[in-house]
């Protein structure tokens, strides 16, 4: 018993060491390079960046503090991504369940889908102006197809044995949809949501870099414009933390809602 606990602690700390080692190594290398090589003329080291990040919590970068920038980006992601998740699930489910819907909308969907998000920015400004709406649209577009496709795939991959079993237990077509097909899609919905989240964050950054006066993406762009590499890197680090937090939250939600799909973890 005692032995086992020690073993477990040993294993856990081993994992933490393995995780941190490359990160710390990378930071040290970066710092050394910034201090002792010509890279130092081009960009600051990590200490300076992290310092700048902390300072930016109190002292505005451009119009806002970094947390305000993050809130702007967060709001855009929430609105654009949130509506993409809702409509993407509905669209994917309709594609999967209705032959008619599939025949009507699949070709159109396949036609529009290959157009990259960035390519929509000029038209989105034309349609929605330079304010928030055009950013919502870009995030929405970036996320939508990922959710829709994943849900559609989930419906196609429903285990026919489970459908047969449910029929034998007396399910009507309607009950089959709600008690078997949709529940068995939930893991696909979440995996679509994860991919869509990365795509949504990418989209918001692109939108903010091209057409915005605030947000984390704006920071990076503004830093480039003024040749302020510290600001660029501060934005990038903030973005990494932002993305990591969002993905972690979504994973927690999935673990709560989808406990049956996570074996022993």
């Amino acid at each position: 018993m005692g032995n086992k606990t020690v073993n477990l602690i040993g294993k856990n700390s081993m994992r933490i060491v393995l995780t941190l080692l490359p990160i710390i190594g990378f930071l040290i290398l970066w710092q050394l390079a910034a201090m002792f090589t010509s890279i130092g003329n081009l960009m600051p080291g990590p200490i300076q960046v992290i310092e700048s990040l902390f300072i930016s919590f109190a002292k505005p970068l451009g119009p806002h503090t970094i947390q305000m920038h993050a809130l702007y980006s967060l709001k855009r992601v929430m609105v654009g991504y949130g509506s993409a998740v809702v409509t993407g699930i509905i669209f994917g489910v309709s594609l999967g369940l209705s032959k008619m819907f599939r025949a009507l909308f699949r070709p159109l969907f396949e036609l529009i889908r290959p157009i990259p998000t960035v390519a929509w920015i000029p038209i989105s400004i034309l349609w929605f102006g330079v304010d928030e709406m055009s950013k919502y649209f870009i995030v929405f577009y970036g996320a939508f197809a990922n959710v829709a496709l994943s849900v559609y795939m989930g419906i196609q991959r429903v285990d026919p044995v489970l459908v047969g079993a449910a029929k034998m237990l007396g399910c009507s077509e309607r009950q089959l949809t709600f008690k078997v097909v949709l529940p068995s899609c939930i893991p696909y919905i979440f995996s679509g949501m994860q991919v869509a989240l990365s795509a949504g964050i990418m989209s918001v950054v692109v939108a903010e870099m091209i057409n915005s006066y605030e947000g984390i993406g704006w920071n990076i762009h503004a830093g480039q414009q003024t040749a302020n590499m510290t600001q660029v890197l501060t934005g990038m680090v903030a973005l990494a933390i932002f993305g990591l937090l969002m993905a972690a939250i979504l994973r927690q939600v999935e673990r709560r809602m989808c406990a049956w799909n996570t074996r022993n973890t």
């Binding site: 044995v161 489970l162 047969g164 079993a165 449910a166 029929k167 034998m168 237990l169 007396g170 399910c171 009507s172 009950q175 008690k179 078997v180 529940p183 068995s184 939930i186 989808c258 406990a259 049956w260 799909n261 074996r263 022993n264």
Partner: protein, 255 residues
């Protein structure tokens, strides 16, 4: 033997299969099969691998359309929404997103049993299959043997008029199979359900069945009906048991 055949004929017919034929395009799988299933009996159907056993059950339940012939349950064509038939598939079929308890409750909810009745039924069958301690587990956390018990509990929970089982223990190791076979017999004796049990394991058929239908190779027809009135609990080493097992083996060997 003669006595039991008379006894069989006096029993009430639950399922009447007449001239059942099933083709998949050009492939004739079931060739003009006729027989009865009697109420409360335990019927085993044995046949070689690939002869059409699963096809037969799927035709009976209307999961497949039949080519010709007639299948009547209580003198009516089978209707899954109306008739209470349970079917334990060859493959694992517990719903992964439901706990053991909710899986067992699934059919009771669909068939709109009142909450009190459903609760009582769930408690009964969960005890029968010995899964009380695992009621809040998800299928991914269970072993194959436990999963099969969940499915069997689910099948018995609705108190089905007819219980169909398609090689439910085919994937299990021998010890577990013996245990579940005994469990099944106990449940059957308690609930008085009518069971049609399909297997290609001859020993299993002789151990379980009151009556055994031996099928031929594809296209399947009924080669022989055997009444098995060996007393329970049966002993697989008993010479009468061995004798009967040999008889069935010979029937399957000589086409």
């Amino acid at each position: 033997m003669a006595d039991s055949e008379v006894d069989t004929r006096q029993r009430e017919i639950l399922v009447r299969v007449r001239d059942l034929t099933k083709r998949f395009d050009d492939l004739l799988v079931l060739d003009n099969i006729s027989f009865n299933v009697y109420r409360h009996e335990f019927l085993c159907i044995v046949g070689p691998t690939g002869c059409g056993k699963t096809t037969f059950l799927n035709s009976l339940t209307r999961l497949y359309d039949i080519t010709s012939g007639e299948i009547l349950l209580d003198n009516e064509p089978v209707d899954l929404r109306k008739h209470n038939i349970s079917y334990v598939f060859q493959e694992a079929s517990a719903m992964p997103w439901l706990t053991v308890e909710d899986n067992i409750r699934f059919g009771l909810k669909i068939r709109k049993f009142s909450k009190d009745v459903a609760d009582a039924r769930v408690e009964d069958v969960i005890k029968l299959v010995n899964l009380q301690k695992f009621r809040n587990y998800y299928p991914a956390q269970l072993s194959i043997g436990m999963l099969q018990r969940v499915v069997i509990a689910r099948a018995f929970a609705t108190n089905p008029t007819l219980l169909l089982m398609d090689e439910p223990y085919g994937q299990l190791d021998i010890e577990l199979r013996y245990m579940l076979e005994d469990e099944l017999i106990a449940i059957w004796e308690k609930t008085r359900a009518t069971v049609v049990f399909i297997t290609h394991n001859i020993e299993e058929a002789v151990y379980l069945g009151q009556r055994i239908l031996v099928l031929t190779n594809k296209p399947a027809t009924i080669k022989r009906e055997i009444v098995n009135d060996l007393p329970r609990p049966r002993n697989i080493a008993d010479h009468k048991f061995v004798e009967l097992r040999e008889t069935v083996t010979q029937l399957i060997k000589w086409w």
